[in-house]
């Protein structure tokens, strides 16, 4: 046990990290292209972006939360649960006999599902925030527990089965504008931009960093730390709802565990993107690059026809590389 590190030598670390991430992304692209030129085709690149849109949206929420010093490892379970609820509503809508009297029900089941999903997202976020604040326990533990609860609820609702949308809700996940640009990419870009503005150019964003950097100093400066924390959790819930809509729309069916893996994938992307697990550090651009890197590696392995099971190993190596870099550029002044 060492006394807490005193001073650190840091100079534009965020910038350096995003440069490093960009270089790495470029390198992966070059290697993949050399092995299989199809990689660099515009359709494949668009595919990659479409594939990472769900992860990117989730990561933006959790990234902001992590900057404020809290963590949520139940996001995947939240998305799965919302997917189930939404698919359930749409499926029921589709099962109604399509006579004139019921036409409106079929029509309205989709908007209804969307509204319900966002409502559930808000409630789940608020609930998580509330439990974290009231229990005064570490959010890692709280969300570990809540994730298990959400998974349980999803299993109860689905009875272990799945729901399908009968292709009735494809806009978010599959539709392409001008037959080229998937709608989900637009949502991803929008969410990333909003996150960027929020973190960099708003007072609320500044409060997130302050609370993550030194909660007590933020509190004494007059920041309503609990209210800000609550808002960060709710934001996570709402973005999870959007992610659930896009994901289920793309996949077409919902299972109880559909999205569970996103909990750790999102965390991996955020950490690769340089957000300190202790809070107070990170930015939207790097988070996006982290997500992109993970997406590209996954795709490149497939395109290069490498055993897809290697993906996990590569991602592990990338995480270690990234945090080592951050550690080196911000170590104690000796060494």
């Amino acid at each position: 046990m060492k006394p807490s590190a005193k001073r650190v030598e840091a100079r534009g670390r965020e910038l350096n990290l995003s440069v490093l991430l960009s270089i790495t992304i470029l390198a992966v692209c070059i290697v993949a292209t050399v092995v299989n030129p199809r990689f660099i085709r515009i359709t494949n690149l668009v595919n990659i972006l479409q594939q990472i849109s769900v992860l990117g949206i989730i990561a933006c929420g959790v990234g902001m939360l992590l900057i404020s010093g809290q963590i949520d490892i139940s996001v995947g379970n939240q998305v799965s649960l919302m997917g189930i609820i939404m698919a359930l509503i749409i499926q029921r809508g589709g099962e109604i006999s399509p006579d004139a009297a019921h036409a409106w029900m079929i029509q309205w089941s989709i908007p209804f599902a969307v509204v319900v999903t966002f409502a559930v997202g808000t409630v789940l976020g608020a609930l998580t925030g509330l439990v974290v604040i009231k229990s005064r326990a570490h959010s890692f533990i709280v969300t570990l527990a809540l994730g298990s609860v959400y998974r349980g609820i999803a299993l109860l609702i689905s009875r272990g089965g799945s729901f399908t949308l009968y292709g009735r809700f494809e806009t978010l996940g599959r539709t392409r504008i001008a037959n080229f640009l998937p709608v989900s990419i637009i949502f991803l870009v929008f969410v990333v931009l909003v996150t960027l503005v929020l973190l960099k150019y708003t007072r609320y964003g500044r409060f997130l960093y302050s609370i993550g950097g030194n909660r007590k100093a933020a509190y004494v400066s007059g920041i309503k730390t609990t209210a800000v924390t609550m808002r960060a959790f709710i934001t996570v819930g709402v973005l999870n709802a959007l992610a659930a809509l896009i994901l289920i729309s793309r996949v077409g069916t919902a299972l109880a565990g559909t999205a569970d893996a996103y909990s750790l994938d999102a965390l991996a992307a955020i950490v690769v993107g340089g957000v300190a697990i202790t809070g107070g550090k990170g930015n939207a651009l790097s988070i996006f690059l982290g997500v992109l890197l993970i997406g590209i590696v996954g795709n490149a392995l497939v395109v290069m026809n490498v055993n897809p099971h290697l993906r996990g190993i590569f991602i592990g190596v990338i995480i270690i590389g990234s945090v080592t870099f951050s550690g080196l550029s911000e170590q104690r002044s000796r060494m």
Partner: protein, 511 residues
């Protein structure tokens, strides 16, 4: 009398990005001497001693300890070589006990290799009693007050038989008693051959305790002299590069002028066992000081008024209107500011840049005023630059992380944050701790200007001369109670000490 060299550092160079902290500095320490190190904020004092303590690396130079030359030092090596350090910033491990912190480097073990907490606490108890420090060894560090943490750091340094003791501003926010106790400890150990490097911005202490004094300026050594061959009048210009200004004395406003201003009443604040029914009032434009020994309940009182801690009762009235704050955000909303004494714990977000720390409270206020516009980073940094200039904060840019600033410059950042937060009522808890003599008078002038603008200023300080020269009124606290209010001719250091200690009070002024 022991003779010889305990330590010799030659041509030490240390560069940080954008800052040359030490430019080929020579320093030596004789056996059994107290060698003082003085200089402006950011001069390189802490850097030099941290290098000797092994916690900062150096770019070039030689270090001889005893008669051995060392090219590489780290904290545990330094400790093995008999060097003990009280760092400027608290470096204790917050989540374990006082006793474990004191013996961190060789914890007593049980037969099975586990930490033997009981014997650890016993040993700590013995040590603390011997040093006259009144702190429970079984308590967690995080539950201690700022000053108690400082005392524990000192106790830790004395827990091992050291050959070289490094004290980096050990007396910052200690009171008379604490300082005297420390000095007698130093004298006792020095007579046994211990050598001490002593850093302080209280220059009077230097003349009381040191045998030699070295002045550093901008990373270079200006002079090393025996204490008898120098004086305040030589040291201060060597430190700050200009002649020593006469001690700051404020033009005190007459009672009559003050009586016309608005009235802030602190009414019957109480928290069982800590603050005992304290009431007093401050006029707009008045600087009201609160004196007392450490532990007299001054910081606790401020925390109750600001809403950081819950009070059993107590209210704050501004011209009769109740503005009692139940929490810091209410307090900030009511126009109250509170500079806390522990900058690392509750004053600064150390990993954030200077400018973000300076502007934080302003953004909190803008949120309350429902300002919705996006932040203008360029303007924000310009504003911060103005503050940096006004307070003469030494930093390469306003984007430097606060953690990379020297201690005194960090303190100036907290001051900047509250001086420019535009609060109506400001409570300063030990505002000038760690700030050099050159900057102090500038800060007093800024505080005076706030008062002249009709703000209510409350200053808690253990630096009695400071209170006497800056305040219109000084209230003295003892055991949680406000025991005296001193004004005019009554307001002297002597009176303050007398009331703080509670000895031979001849005529107690009515409250």
């Amino acid at each position: 009398m022991v003779t010889g060299m305990a330590l010799r550092a030659e041509r030490i160079v240390k560069n940080y990005p954008g800052v040359q902290a030490l430019k080929s500095v020579d320093f030596d320490l004789r056996r059994g001497e107290v060698h003082a190190l003085v200089g402006q904020n950011g001069a390189g004092k802490s850097t030099l001693v941290e290098i000797i303590a092994g916690s900062v690396s150096y770019d070039s130079g030689d270090i001889h300890i005893g008669d051995q030359k060392h090219t590489y030092l780290d904290p545990s090596r330094s400790i093995e070589l008999g060097i003990q350090t009280v760092h400027q910033e608290n470096q204790l491990v917050e989540e374990i006990t006082v006793a474990e912190n004191i013996f961190l480097y060789d914890l007593p073990r049980t037969r099975y290799g586990f930490v033997n907490l009981r014997s650890c606490i016993q040993a700590a108890d013995v040590l603390l009693q011997e040093l006259g420090i009144d702190v429970e060894p079984g308590k967690k560090i995080s539950s201690l007050s700022f000053v108690d943490k400082k005392l524990i750091s000192i106790a830790k340094a004395f827990s091992r038989k050291a050959r070289i003791l490094i004290l980096d501003e050990p007396t910052a926010s200690l009171d008379e008693q604490g300082r005297n106790a420390l000095f007698s400890l130093i004298r006792r150990y020095t007579s046994l051959g211990l050598s001490t490097i002593y850093i302080s911005h209280h220059l009077s202490e230097i003349f009381e305790i040191a045998d030699r004094v070295t002045v550093l300026k901008d990373g270079q050594r200006v002079s090393t002299k025996a204490i008898g061959e120098t004086s305040l009048h030589t040291i201060v210009p060597e430190m700050i590069g200009r002649s020593s200004q006469s001690l700051y004395v404020r033009d005190k406003k007459g009672r009559q002028t003050l009586e016309q201003g608005s009235l802030l009443q602190i009414v019957d604040f109480h928290r069982e066992g800590v603050v005992d029914h304290v009431s007093f009032s401050v006029r707009a434009g008045e600087v009201y000081g609160i004196a007392g020994l450490v532990g007299a309940g001054r910081t606790e009182l401020a925390q109750l008024v600001f809403g950081v801690d819950r009070s059993d009762h107590g209210s704050l009235l501004l011209d009769g209107k109740d503005i009692t704050a139940g929490s810091p955000f209410n307090a900030v909303d009511e126009g109250i500011g509170f500079l806390t004494e522990d900058r690392k714990d509750s004053g600064l977000v150390l990993i954030q840049p200077v400018y973000e720390n300076i502007t934080l409270v302003r953004f909190v206020k803008e949120i309350k005023k429902k300002v919705k516009s996006l932040l203008n980073l360029a303007k924000e940094q310009d504003d911060a630059r103005t503050v940096v200039q006004q307070l003469d904060i030494r930093t390469p840019t306003v984007s430097q992380k606060v953690i990379n600033l020297s201690g005194g410059n960090q303190q100036k950042v907290v001051l900047g944050k509250w001086l420019f937060a535009d609060s109506e009522i400001i409570i300063f808890d030990e505002p000038t701790v760690g700030i050099d003599v050159g900057s102090k008078s500038e800060i007093y002038k800024l505080i005076e200007k706030l008062a002249d603008d009709g703000k209510f200023i409350i200053i808690i300080s253990s630096d009695n001369p400071e209170l006497v020269s800056v305040c219109d009124t000084v209230g003295v606290m003892r055991f949680g109670r406000l025991v005296a209010e001193l004004r005019g001719d009554q307001m002297t250091e002597e009176q303050i000490v007398k009331h703080s200690l509670g000895v031979s009070v001849i005529k107690e002024p009515e409250l």
